[in-house]
Amino acid sequence: MSSAASPVLIEVEKVYKRFPLPEGKGEFTVLSQIDLQVRAGEVLALLGRSGSGKSTLLRIMAGLIPPSEGRVLSNGRPLRGPNPDVAMVFQSFALLPWLTVQENVELGLKAQGIPREIRRQKALKAIDLVGLDGFENAYPKELSGGMKQRVGFARAFVLEPKLLFMDEPFSALDVLTAENLRGEIDELWNTQAFPSQSILIVTHNIEEAVFLADRVVILGSKPGRIRGEVKIDLPRPHERTDPRFKSLVDYIYEIMTNPEIPVTSEVAAPSPVSPRAPSPYALPLPHARVGGISGLLELIVEWPQGRVEIAELAERLQLAVDDLLPILDAAVLLGFAEVSGRVVQLTEIGQDFANTTILRSKDLFRQQLLARVPVFKSILQTLEEKNSRSMRADFFLDLWDEHFPPDEAERQFATAIDWGRYAELFEYDASEDRLYLPEPSESPPAQ
């Protein structure tokens, strides 16, 4: 439906977003050099893993937060303040629990100063459109999750915005409800009855992106940047049974699991290579628990030769990419698995790890950790240099703080603790907030 001739509704020009690190330790870049256009008549999906800044980008385009650099043009004019052309559907609905369905839907109209009677009629129409008639006087807490999100859609529809923004609108719903609502929204769009000219949806669900969007823009992580885009050249509605649908999904899976490979599509944007800092604390650890990593390996080892397609694995596990990919990344980082194309393959060590006893697997884990993740060597060195063979946790947190915003630094720390504890490299006392080297003992601890 979209073409180069359609008017541009919103344009993002060289936008950067940085958040200051505490105590003047510089800045953390969340979004880097974003250029993006949304045209009338298209459905655009922003697809990325957590930490890719996709929700931040959405909020910058909605005018909820200002960019640090660059600008957003709405209707050709630079955006200052909340974007009047945009209505948004939120992940956790954002309904006011003390207002009825109708009052919630009328809220935006009321803010515009539209008289009561007109407000009522418009709201009733929007409520009808999302299939909630009869529930006008219900309160949100009487509704199921799917119905609540329908109210969220009605509240956006009633404003007849040029652009409808959706921030992971189906991710708080159970699988069946999400599927149902997604289908209805798509149907509404396809029948031209849709109250807005364009849709911009943020998601981490690859199938959802391919199903809904005409164009999928793929964001890379750390810092968030546009890696490129994939055109979904399927007739609407996008049928899941179409072999082309599956190959598109597989292709995007491949891109998402291999951060290095370029996105080859008609409009591939250059992805700037981020310079790697020499500090071992700058290398981000994927947030996966040891239990998750070994669970995944034990699953993959069941497949012949320990090889499986990632899409198949995700389906089998009923896991969203956001949950699966960090675990996969961790397995690759530790040298337990390799990803080539859209296939994951266990290494020899990985197979050994998946099949062996707990004590031996701890040894393997420790060996891989020290060989492949420099930060653990650095922590051990620090602890060994101390006479007390211990160190305040703050010391290490500060080192992460140099490279990450505080929340992320804490998560990095937590992941490192989880891995290091499992490998018995060091111990952590939460009440004293200190790291210790374990007591040297010849034999492994009893029991």
């Binding site: 200052r80 303040g81 974007n83 009047p84 629990p97 309160y139 509240r155």
Partner: protein, 576 residues
Amino acid sequence: MRTFPSPEVLRRQLPAGAADGAIILGTLVLLAGVAHVGAGAFEQFQPPAVVPRIDLDPRNLPYYALRSTLRMFIALAFSTLFTLVYGYVAAKSRWAERILIPLLDILQSVPVLGFLSITVTGFIALFPGSLLGLEAASIFAIFTSQVWNMTFSFYQSLRTLPQELVEAATLYRLSGWQRFTQLEVPAAMVGLVWNAMMSFGGGWFFVAASEAISVLNQEYTLPGLGSYVEAAIQAEDLPKLGWALLTMVVVILLVDQLFWRPLVAWSDRFRLEQSAGAATPESWLYDLLTTARIPRLIGRRLAPLAERVDQLLAYLTRPRWVDPPNPEAERRRERLLTQLSWLTIGGLGAWIVYFVATTVGLGEVMLAFGLGILTLLRVSGLLVLATVIWTPIGVAIGFNPGLAKLLQPLVQFLAAFPANFLFPFATLFFIRAQISLDWGSILLMSLGAQWYILFNSIAGAQSIPTDLREMAMNLGLKGWKLWQKLIIPGIFSAWVTGGITASGGAWNASIVSEVVTWGSTTLKATGLGAYIAEATAAGDWPRITLGIGMMSLFVVGINRFFWRRLYQLAEEKYHL
């Protein structure tokens, strides 16, 4: 939330006509009562010749009770207004916040009763020749006992609004007024009502204490329940005291049934959790009001007008986009603020040195400090005693849901009951048994404070998940081991909350607990509370100032160095 009346309501329901009749009647009675009682505030008052006298005939008790209650509600209205303004400003402006919140922290630690002397003289000068001055001083005392809790609660709610709701409000361009009425106040409502109810209960203590006081060698009496009790004490009349006690019980129950229950039931709709709550609070009066047609009819008639006003206010508070602040200017303001606060601290310090040097002298300061230590020992002893006695009982009640449901309203009632109504009975007991008030005052203070420990122990025990208790039973944990491993960690947060409240209450109560009278007999304890009470009675300004300052210092210091740390520990380690 009930959109359709639940079956029980339908069964109990009065016909709409009868409900309307009841409401009309109730409104008329209320109006008549307020008019009759309110007129009393303008009574002649020209001390020392013309002072209102208290008639000890028990038939006057309803009138006195109404006078006291009216004061409570006026104070509540002012508290609410203050809360909305102060909390809003503190939450909206980063700069105001940095001044207003520490200030609030100090204000809530200052012993309100110590201030009565200052406020009474001020307000009497403001309204010469009428009782209004005393009336205002009393209301102000109640106000200062209620307001800080409410303000903190409102401020906290504003700061913790769900992010997505705020974004929705911004994107849909709600005006300042619409934000306030549709998002901010409703989101804060549940906490606000709860805190108002608790503070209101605490306020009865201050009504009783502020209606009859002697300031600057003058006896001031304001018609009300508190002054009735005072007069009965002077007359050594036990039966009259009994009547006053009974009246107080009835008043607390009535206010609970006619005001707080309906309010709590109504405010339940403002709960932020989106799922249906298990137990919705109920109130027969609220059901009556929602059944009747009159309130709805009036509402519908007023709707167009309300809409007009709403649109006007919305227009006046249109959202304006403020550009992000320039970091350089920001830093400059930061520096200025730091300099200003140091200047203030320096100025205050200099004034304190000057004050001590020119008036009371260092020796007096040391004396006040020593007395403060004595009172501190009393407060600590009270906390230990109340904990040892009431925590096991509270836990036993909390672990038994049936018992808890039965007893919790009773404990809440006991916490609201003004302990100073019981003081005369205790005083009489001390005189008969020849107990020194040095020890007895601990009991007096605990009459009010201990219930917070009990109340929170019950709540804490209830919050321990059943599966944890089953686990403990399964492992065979018993006796001290069970307390050590499960109960103490489980109720710790709640106990700290109770402890803070009890400690604050006890310090305040020390001013009226360390000097008590029965007729012509006066008992006195050695302590900071007695020091303040005596300085107030004698009108000795430097000593009043020193006493209040010292007590504030004690309370703030203990909050900072003891309770704050325990609270942090509770948050970090024992959070369930």
